[in-house]
């Protein structure tokens, strides 16, 4: 069983162990320092902690990886959120003249939450999820990942399981971190197709011409629709559910063909649609598929530069699951119920160790400082957390390679620039004479 029975009451005992021996601090620090290119990037980053008894503290910041570790081990946060990189150290924000303390940069983030699909999923509601509705997340990830990479040109995306009922995306490109509020909101709007609240029945409206982005998204939805909507969600399984599907359109515009059977196929061929008005009707099958499957984003999460979002590798207090990175190469087989819980990995830690482990222990005794870190690396490697840290490692590698490429390009340019400057100075001095 991959979920050692998790009991929230154990959190006070498990968390200290997790932060001491399993949380991947060096990778985490490596991520948030972004190669040290910008001065004080890590130092000016805001973290917020939710401590025991729901005590919430904001504006936490740390100067080094070591300080981050010590503080987390001391405070033992139940939840960790990551905020923006500010103009000054967040922990000193009160000392700064009012108005000058500002959020400068942050990753572009997206939060897909299963509750936003409650009106279109029949298997679960609210905080529950199951394998039948998890497909919605798969679809969301495929559509958004493609768009963010191909349309917007972003390269470094980290997809993370939230620990309970959704996924987050962290777009970490340099350009993404520097985006303004207006730009973030424009990106989120571009990616939004399902619009409207309780008061809107027809939430997707398509008109000619259909934008290439919508076509791309439709082809993803179509790949999954038969299995997800027709089979798993069974949206055409009863008259009641069919009515709901077709309620999107005024009653007088559809009727059932005589003698149609219970199982309907993808193109609603047994339903005839009278489309006598210019508006709508021609794309109703596409609109229905999108309304049932297209990703629903909370624009407000993506808009704000200073918005705080749950940190990767934090624990979800209600389920005990670790917020782990998702490997997109294995997306179709990702199972949220296989994600390790804190109880599981702590238990795995206690298992008897192999002989090589004891040799390593000997080496450690020689060098205490690095010992802690090495031990921790060995520790998580023995647990189910290992493969997820690997995904994170690969993500970090890719960013490092990209940074190196940028630096080489820039140094080439700088050389050219400095030569030009020298010419200019010479020309100027010549003129002066």
């Amino acid at each position: 069983m991959s979920t050692s029975d998790y009991d929230p009451a154990c959190l006070p005992d498990l968390l200290p162990l997790y932060y001491r021996r399993l949380f991947p601090f060096s990778q985490y620090y490596r991520w948030l320092s972004y190669g040290g290119v910008s001065k004080n990037y890590f130092q000016n980053r805001e973290f917020s902690f939710t401590l025991k008894d729901d005590i919430y503290v904001r504006y936490q910041s740390f100067t080094t990886q070591n300080e981050l570790e010590k503080e987390m081990q001391k405070m033992v946060p139940y939840k960790i959120d990551i905020g923006a990189v500010y103009s000054h150290r967040p922990s000193q924000h009160n000392a700064v003249k009012s108005g000058t303390f500002q959020a400068l940069e942050k990753e572009l983030v997206f939060d897909i939450d299963m509750t936003d699909y409650d009106d279109v999923r029949r298997c679960c509601s609210a905080a529950d999820i199951c394998s039948k509705c998890w497909t919605l997340m798969t679809i969301a990830i495929r559509i958004l990942d493609r768009a963010l990479r191909e349309d917007f040109g972003f390269h470094h995306l980290l997809w993370v399981y939230s620990g309970r009922r959704g996924v987050h995306c962290w777009v970490c490109d340099d350009a993404a971190r520097k985006l303004s509020v207006a730009a973030r909101s424009a990106v989120a709007e571009y990616l939004s197709l399902v619009k409207g609240g309780e008061e809107t029945v027809r939430k997707v409206v398509l008109s000619d011409p259909i934008h290439p982005f919508i076509n791309h998204s439709l082809s993803v939805v179509e790949r999954y629709f038969q299995q997800y909507a027709i089979v798993d969600q069974d949206i055409l399984g009863s008259k009641e559910s069919v009515d709901k599907v077709l309620a999107v359109f005024p009653v007088d515009r559809y009727f059932f063909k005589e003698g149609s059977s219970v199982s309907y196929d993808l193109h609603f061929s047994c339903v005839s649609v009278k489309s006598n008005s210019k508006k709508g009707g021609q794309y109703f099958d596409k609109e229905i598929m999108l309304q049932y499957c297209y990703p629903r984003l909370d624009v407000n999460v993506s808009k704000g530069v200073n918005h705080l979002l749950k940190s990767p590798f934090s624990v979800h207090p209600k389920t005990g699951r670790i917020s782990v990175p998702i490997d997109l190469k294995e997306l179709d087989t990702f199972d949220p119920f296989e994600v390790p819980t804190i109880s599981l990995i702590c238990e795995e830690l206690e298992k008897p160790r192999a002989e090589e482990a004891e040799e390593d222990d000997m080496k450690d005794k020689e060098n205490e400082q690095e010992a802690g870190e090495r031990r921790r690396i060995r520790d998580y490697k023995r647990t189910s957390l290992a493969k997820y840290v690997k995904v994170f490692d690969r993500f970090l590698e890719a960013m490092a390679r990209s940074r190196k490429g940028e630096m080489l390009k820039k140094s080439g340019e700088i050389e050219k620039d400095s030569v030009f400057h020298i010419h200019l100075i010479l020309a100027f001095t010549l003129q002066m004479d």
């Binding site: 729901d54 919430y56 009012s98 509750t115 936003d116 699909y117 409650d118 009106d119 191909e150 349309d151 917007f152 040109g153 972003f154 350009a175 985006l179 303004s180 207006a182 730009a183 909101s185 424009a186 990106v187 709007e189 571009y190 399902v194 619009k195 409207g196 609240g197 309780e198 008061e199 809107t200 029945v201 027809r202 011409p209 259909i210 934008h211 290439p212 982005f213 919508i214 076509n215 005024p250 629903r296 909370d298 624009v299 407000n300």
Partner: protein, 489 residues
């Protein structure tokens, strides 16, 4: 921006050079002398124009035929040269008034952009190109091969584009950050972070430039402002100009504590605008509201006079009936209520949302009950709701017609008239709290006749000053006009 030390008077021949194009980027401030009267009148007229732009932007789809026709009608017919000179000078005057706070700047930039877009679109293609040349605006174009390979995608993403147009005209390639309006509405093709903009949409790129320059200029103006404000002649005029825009924002609470919590249910039916009635009902039914709803409704309640203690009690009692226990409320939600009253964080005393804000920002999604029902509800559902609230079928139809024409505030006004049984609301609705105040006024016994008497008296007293304005009196006229701009009734 600095008012220059050397002041050149305009000479005849250079007149033509200075204003040789009807549109400008406002790169250079005007260098002439003008009288105080001109200073005031120019400023007020431009402000009126910007307010018209704002109002049209809400009631019509921007750049639609209707919008363009209406804006055409507003722009008066005077000599072309005079028009351009006025345009130049008035823009810079308003910069002085609107550079001071983030809100003012944002408003000014938004209206100036809308105005600029309207005027740019109005130009002949040749004049557009002239403008680009004159202002040194060069944008990267897409090669013929790339155009060909992307032709279908371009046609599918941009409005009004055909195969021939793609071949014949330039397509520009800019980073998507420079074409946000097109990105936001998905009206452009994106590839690898670049937006591919057909020639006829070039206004978007130009606008982006316009916004960036204006934004920088306003920041600089704000820094030089103290020098300008020390001129006693200008200081009162400038401060009145910026207040004219803000108008009544219901941020200063009157009648605190005059409303008791028990009255709210009844009041929601009688005096709340539809949006707030809707939010109140959702809160009572679900014992919960999401953030957007809490803000819109919470601030409204603050505006009608609820004290912080009352508000806390109100929200807690409702949430506790739902899934939130008293402890959780105190930890999680109480903070945000106090925040609304300016008692937490940066202690901004948040102002209740105006209709414009409710209609235009933060549209509701699944699970939300905020927004403007006339704008955000399906017409069918809106009709049902109105019927439930006992609005007559003919009244409902009138409302739906207005909604179709996108006149959301007028639709709400009509709702006011129908529920209060009056022919004419007697005011121009632009704020939910205004709806409440007017409703209460009506229900508590009649309109304020006193104001009308005052107006007629005033016009009788000053006929002389109207025909020959001396400096003091012209200031009076100016301030009166400002008064009118800020008081929508």
């Amino acid at each position: 921006m600095q008012f220059p030390g050397r002041r050149k008077k305009l000479i005849g021949s250079s007149q033509n050079d200075l204003y040789d194009h009807c549109l400008q980027f406002y790169g250079q401030p005007p260098l002439e002398n003008i009288s105080l009267t001109e200073f005031e009148t120019f400023a007020v007229e431009r402000l009126k124009l910007l307010k018209t732009v704002e109002n049209l932007g809400v009631s019509c789809v921007k750049n639609s035929e209707q919008y363009t026709k209406k804006l055409d009608a507003e722009i008066s017919r005077i000599s072309e040269y005079e028009k351009r000179r006025k345009d130049h000078i008035s823009h810079f005057i308003l910069r002085l008034a609107y550079c001071q706070t983030e809100d003012l700047r944002r408003w000014f930039i938004q209206q100036e952009m809308d105005l600029f877009r309207y005027r740019f679109n109005d130009l002949h293609s040749k004049h557009k190109t002239d403008f680009l040349h004159k202002n040194n605006l060069k944008y990267e174009t897409v090669s013929a091969e790339e155009k060909k390979s992307l032709q279908d995608k371009l046609i599918a993403s941009s409005y009004g584009l055909s195969g021939t147009k793609v071949e014949e005209h330039d397509v520009y390639k800019v980073p998507f950050q420079d074409a946000l309006d097109l990105v936001r509405t998905r009206k452009v093709y994106l590839l690898a972070g670049n937006a591919y903009i057909p020639h006829h949409e070039i206004v978007t790129i130009v606008l982006n430039d316009f916004r960036t320059r204006l934004s920088k200029a306003l920041a600089m103006t704000a820094r030089s402002l103290p020098a300008v404000q020390s001129d006693e002649r200008l200081q009162p005029l400038l401060s009145h100009l910026s207040h004219a825009y803000v108008g009544q924002d219901y941020s200063i609470q009157k009648n605190i504590g005059k409303i008791s919590l028990e009255q709210i249910d009844a009041l929601s039916g009688k005096s709340f605008p539809l949006c707030m009635r809707h939010l109140h009902k959702a809160l009572r039914e679900n014992h919960h509201l999401r953030h957007g709803g809490r803000m819109q409704y919470g601030l409204f309640l603050k505006g009608i006079g609820l004290s912080l203690e009352q508000a806390l009690q109100f929200w807690r009692s409702e949430f506790v009936k739902g899934k939130v226990d008293a402890d959780k409320f105190d930890k999680a939600y109480a903070y945000s209520v106090r925040h609304m009253f300016g008692k937490e964080g940066k202690r901004t005393d948040y102002t209740p949302y105006s209709c414009m804000k409710v209609i235009l920002s933060n549209p509701p999604s699944q699970g939300d009950y905020h927004g403007c029902p006339f704008r955000h509800s399906d017409p069918e559902l809106l009709k049902q709701k109105l019927q439930n609230y006992k609005v007559s079928p003919s009244g409902t139809n009138q409302i739906l017609e207005l909604v179709k024409g996108m006149h959301y505030q007028l639709a709400c006004q009509k709702y006011f008239e129908l529920t209060h049984n009056v022919e004419d609301a007697g005011f121009s609705l632009n704020h939910p709290n205004q709806y409440f105040t007017e409703s209460q006024k009506l229900l508590s016994g009649g309109r304020d006749i006193k104001k009308e008497v005052d107006m007629s008296q005033r016009s009788q007293e000053n006929p002389a000053s109207v025909t020959r304005p001396s400096q003091a009196n012209s200031k009076q006229i100016f301030l009166d006009e400002i008064q009118e701009l800020s008081d929508p009734s």
